[in-house]
Symmetry: C2
Subunit: 499 residues, 2 copies
Amino acid sequence: MQEQYEELKRRLMEVNDLQSANSLLGWDQATYMPAKGAVARGRQIATLSRLAQEKFTAPAIGHLLDDLEKYDLPYDSDEASLIRVTRRLYERAIKVPPEFTAKAAAHTTEAYSIWAKARPENDFATVQPYLEKTLDLSIEFANFFPDYDHIADPLIDGSDYGMKAESIRQIFSELREQLVPIAKAINEQAPADDSCLRKFYPVDKQQEFGEYVIQQFGYDFERGRQDKTHHPFMTKFSLNDVRITTRFQEHFLGESLGSTMHEAGHALYELGINQDYEGTPLARGASAGVHESQSRLWENVIGRSRPFWEHFYPLLQETFPDQLNDVDLDAFHRAFNKVENSLIRTDADEVTYNLHVMIRFDLELQMLEGELAIKDLPEAWHARYDSDLGIHAPSDVDGALQDVHWYAGFIGGAFQGYTLGNIMSGQFYEAALKAHPGIPTDISRGEFGKLHNWLKDNIYQHGRKYTPDELIERVTGKPLTIEPYINYLRTKYGELYSL
Amino acid sequence: MQEQYEELKRRLMEVNDLQSANSLLGWDQATYMPAKGAVARGRQIATLSRLAQEKFTAPAIGHLLDDLEKYDLPYDSDEASLIRVTRRLYERAIKVPPEFTAKAAAHTTEAYSIWAKARPENDFATVQPYLEKTLDLSIEFANFFPDYDHIADPLIDGSDYGMKAESIRQIFSELREQLVPIAKAINEQAPADDSCLRKFYPVDKQQEFGEYVIQQFGYDFERGRQDKTHHPFMTKFSLNDVRITTRFQEHFLGESLGSTMHEAGHALYELGINQDYEGTPLARGASAGVHESQSRLWENVIGRSRPFWEHFYPLLQETFPDQLNDVDLDAFHRAFNKVENSLIRTDADEVTYNLHVMIRFDLELQMLEGELAIKDLPEAWHARYDSDLGIHAPSDVDGALQDVHWYAGFIGGAFQGYTLGNIMSGQFYEAALKAHPGIPTDISRGEFGKLHNWLKDNIYQHGRKYTPDELIERVTGKPLTIEPYINYLRTKYGELYSL
């Protein structure tokens, strides 16, 4: 068996090296590439994607898996896990004909460039036929996996393996029932004053402070770095080179600090994966949702918590004395956790954020079910914002044209991970606190080792060994449940807003 | 034919995309990669090199060439040139067994790391067995091409196609005869005072000035950028993304300005190649020598010339008033062209630089001929520096351990391009002046368009279409000759040192 197993790993490593090189092509495109390098870069990325796909779907990999599956290995062993996860990804990859992948990629490239131009012009009519084709392609894709319960399931599988549209719909509905009254109660009070965040904050000082914070979290600048991009992201070139990006606003402190902590959360997850998995499909996070649980945990549950700021606020004041010396900790903490119903998902606070996500998730399902035609999407969007958040976008710019997702990929599977991640962040953190009740006290001293180690031991090291459902059950002893997350929100915002 | 030709180009483009991605992996390694990313990066670079090599040596490429060679196409046509150059590279590639390439690459990696440690410790004994194996491998490599006149020819072919050891030896010997008395005459005079270059020059101002200069040359920052690295280099990811790097010394102005102009010269060459050649083997410079002719032309022939500084010196004084206001143009120009016999090739001036190169070239040939054993290399090195430059390195650190080349590749073909390039720079510039006698006047006004366009029309656009010998003949009407270069040096240094 050893020989076949090594041969499988050798082939997977080759695929991985192509994918890693491709990630670097993408990182460079977003960070340092000169403008006119774009055309060749697009072609290079397409070539490497195709080669990686060809290598991964080679029949030889299928034969190796056939042979290796004959051995009786413990489910939890690295070997069994590598074989199991590779099989799953392999079956998913070979069921989609290369011609479809090429057709879909070409359409996506075109749809994206049409959207990028149409959005600032509030021109939904122009994108409509493209989005209709995207919907057709999404349905065509789903039907390569005809054994689904819901047509969205194969699309959801790509980012949140094993999660089902119906169970997500159910849990999201429970969550909405709890969130809406909290948001409503907060909105009936005077809004938090966040003017202290909206002074002039020099970019270099913001960067210095943000990077200091994430180093305390445990982010190692010998195994990563932070650069500036238009949209923040995390990317990985190996388990020892996991980089993040951020963006700065000179007149809003919340932007870069939030995004730095968020992306560092994603990075800590990848950096914590068992080094033995390097170059294999196990060497990445379990799912979009589990990944988001870590970015949101470090950004929100930790980075916007009261104990965190007890330690860091004096340092922040030292960094920005003119801006903050007359602002006390309570006022700052309240400002940094301001809740308000707003139009833009990415700018939304912890309480209302999930309402944005659930609207998109529901609309995706309705489109895939044939219950909502693309031409009716803009009105359906406005109707849901009216009913769920009580606000109405003045145009489609911040409505159906708002997010890039449907214009840069399939309809289906694009949004649920954000809210699944929030729910998990509550559930995981509750488990961490149960194991180490002293964590908040540590945090109020700027110490994160206990939490970080618990996350590494229980979540990070496993990479993609377990499905999201398996991981949640292993770590918390329960299936996915909203209770800890709702308790977390009620406690935190109950205190902040005296609910 | 069209179909086969397109299929050949499609396959070559795929190879090119892998090589370009690999160049980016290398650029990132030298610029921004965090320290601990090194291990995986080495593996990724090896994987992409191997895949590019596999794709390029595929029998299908040979068959396409067989078919395409049946058509009668004009020698100068792009189609015939692409087929001809691809055939040459293909034959070179397939004659070397992949196992040899892998063995040589593994040895080189090891030899390099041994050298990097041994050099600071002046420990030639430790590198000796590695260098002996390098010599064996170099000879083994040469013998894959048994039709050579001199055993170094196949090694020289890799960087300076068509040039032969014997004819290079001949032209170098003529050059030495001319150079030695010039260097001697200069060294008998009082050395130039370059203390004005050795004041404190803030790095950001140096960078700003250097980038301003190369923009005036015609370097387009929408098609390139400059970053900092330990060793300066030029690299290309496409014909519209050609980057350079430099290094700064806070207490020596000559370092970054010289290297910025030098690397920009390489970049202007690549940026000037016919855009129709993108992604094919024609889309790069004709040879190491021709490339060096352009870096040395822009750095030295232009960037250290009197007309150049007539225009730029007032701007440099404005940038560094405290350092330069009491230094007049003559004194600065003399300082920037200081000649002295020194130990380090890369720091050498225009007059003595070639003496360093010729020593290495001769030693390479002697080693390959079996006339010089590796164990005797350190003494042979010292002996040549004694006789040619009249100086003796205190140890092997600046002797046989000085340059990375033999420790990071083969022995043979590594050095001749530097001096061939210098010789060509004189010959090309003479031709440019013949076509446009007003070029020096333009330069004294900071205008480089006429020269840059002449270089594009006569050299750059052709990429690798012509061999170095063909190109020299086409551009200057003569074979390679040292006369223009010697005239250039005599005139310039005759004035500077009143020879």
